[in-house]
């Protein structure tokens, strides 16, 4: 590898924070530049809707690595600049400020952006989306005990935000357009569990209701719904999903299909351009289909694979996706993907307690686990999914039988 090789990473994301030092560890001796349109070093995004919002952590405490690490690894970081176009033939990147940079390897870790909704009043003061540190900072300024918050969207982000705002003493209402919260991601049993907990914690959850307008003078005052109901609000947070940032890749003519398509070595359709994290769509050998994941695990693992590929050391990506969500005293850990499940087996008292595990099954095999305050069921569940054996649902449901005993040795 020529000492003068240049690697440019676009997006100061979780994947980028993993990639840059890993490149060095794997022996990359060329230059490394990170280009970001944000104004912070890469930070942990999950705490934005949890500890950061609730005030338990500040901006510095959520940095993935301190500045010194990037210095030590010789990573040049340019903040507040947007990459405009890629000229693949000349291996050049144009920045929006007119600057041009040559590359030998380019890595897109551009992540995802929030899905916006188009209803009257979304531009009022006090109406926010939550994706980046800037959003979270703005939201924090609008919080306050006894103020009223309306959250549009009953997915994990909406529910975590509800939990954080409750901690701050706010009155919180969550509006969900689908018939139940967490509709796309969990079984009805699990959704019912979260609905109960939020109710116990004093959050009002209204499902099957569409927000059609937001009103106020300059500052938001209320949210109107399709059925004529209205909710007073000092603060509105919209959390209705994300869209992968693929514009740059599209402009460059790379293959896109619900994300930037990459192979198992994190390579796009151009061998000198790689991609990692939320912006990618990749083939997962465990589930045997293309996936676009919104997760830290995927960002870290794929970035590590990308670093190896760049250093000429091909290691295929094959990992079991996992996620987590913290709300109140509940620690939810999710292993695997439940899409396509036919049966759900519940272990523990899901209706009365604050701890259970839900196993998503298909044809007698385990696809995914949602474990609340049950780290062991999560950890063993991971292994059971990977083993791919037939599992007796009766044994899974038997809370007196340690889950470990179901593992094939």
């Amino acid at each position: 590898m020529a000492a003068k090789s240049r690697c440019i990473i676009i997006g100061a994301s979780h994947a980028a924070a993993q990639l840059a030092p890993t490149l060095r560890q794997q022996g990359w001796t060329g230059s490394i530049s990170m280009i970001s349109n944000e104004y912070s070093l890469p930070y942990h995004r999950p705490p934005l809707s949890k500890d950061y919002l609730a005030g338990a952590k500040n901006a510095e405490q959520i940095l993935i690595r301190p500045a010194a690490v990037y210095n030590k690894c010789g990573v040049g970081i340019t903040m507040g600049v947007t990459a405009a176009t890629i000229d693949r033939r000349n291996k050049q990147l144009q920045l929006e400020d007119g600057m041009t940079m040559d590359y030998d390897k380019l890595v897109l870790t551009t992540g995802a952006r929030v899905r916006k909704i188009d209803i009257p009043g979304v531009d009022l003061d006090g109406v926010f989306y939550l994706r980046d540190l800037n959003d979270a900072q703005q939201i924090k300024l609008s919080t306050g005990a006894n103020k009223r918050a309306v959250i549009i969207g009953g997915g994990y982000i909406g529910l975590e935000t509800a939990s954080a705002l409750r901690k701050l003493g706010m009155q919180v209402t969550v509006l969900e357009a689908m018939p139940r919260i967490l509709q796309r991601v969990t079984a009805p049993e699990v959704a019912a569990f979260y609905a109960r907990i939020h109710k116990e914690e004093g959050v009002e959850i209204v499902a099957d209701v569409q927000a059609i307008s937001i009103s106020g003078d300059k500052q938001v005052e209320s949210v109107q719904c399709h059925n004529g109901t209205e909710y007073k609000a000092d603060l509105v947070i919209i959390g209705v999903g994300v869209i992968p940032n693929t514009a740059l890749a599209e402009q460059a003519g790379l293959t896109i299909d619900n994300g930037i398509v990459v192979d198992e070595y994190a390579r796009t359709s151009d061998e000198n351009i790689l991609a990692a994290g939320d912006c990618t769509s990749h083939y997962n050998p465990i589930y045997q289909r293309h996936l676009r994941l919104e997760s830290v695990q995927n960002a870290l693992d794929q970035a590590t694979v990308a670093a190896s590929t760049i250093c000429g050391n091909l290691k295929p990506y094959s990992a079991l996706p996992w996620f987590w969500s913290d709300q109140y005293d509940l620690k939810l850990q999710i292993a695997g993907l439940s899409q396509g499940y036919t049966d759900v087996v519940v272990r523990g008292d899901i209706e009365g307690s604050r701890s259970f595990a839900a196993f998503y099954m298909r044809e007698g095999k385990l696809l995914a686990v949602d474990a609340v305050n049950r780290p062991q069921d999560f950890m063993v569940g991971k292994r059971l999914i990977l083993q791919g054996n037939q599992i007796d649902p009766g044994q899974l449901a038997d809370d007196n039988l340690p889950l470990k005993t179901l593992l094939a040795s």
Binding site: P47, V296, Q297, W324, Q333, P375, Q376
Partner: protein
């Protein structure tokens, strides 16, 4: 600044000065010490920051909480001195601490 020694499974040791108040996990991540993955960034969810506390130090560290204990039960090669490094706050009284890293976090 408390000084901590991380020893890899192959015996290779690295001595690092850590900021008091940060965690053993963060100290490893900040100094790019192999062997600590820390997928969840310290929220006690992933158990990929598993380490072994040197026998001389086990008693000087606050015991693991319930969540941590449960997670530790499922790491590969758990031992009596197993801990999740993200749950251990570095303080001045831990100056000289020695931690051993497992061969794998998975």
């Amino acid at each position: 600044m408390p000084r901590v020694t991380y020893i890899q499974a192959d015996g290779q040791a690295q001595e690092i000065n850590l900021e008091a108040g940060s965690s053993l996990m963060q100290g490893a991540v900040d100094n790019m010490i192999d062997g600590i993955v820390a997928e969840c960034g310290g929220s006690c969810s992933c158990a990929t920051c598993h380490c072994y506390i040197d026998a001389d130090w086990v008693d000087k560290i606050e015991p693991a909480g319930e969540m941590e204990t449960d997670l530790l039960d499922c790491v590969s090669e758990p031992k009596d001195n197993s801990r999740l490094s993200c749950q251990i706050k570095v303080t001045d009284s831990l100056d000289g601490l020695v931690v051993h890293l497992p061969a794998t976090q998975f």
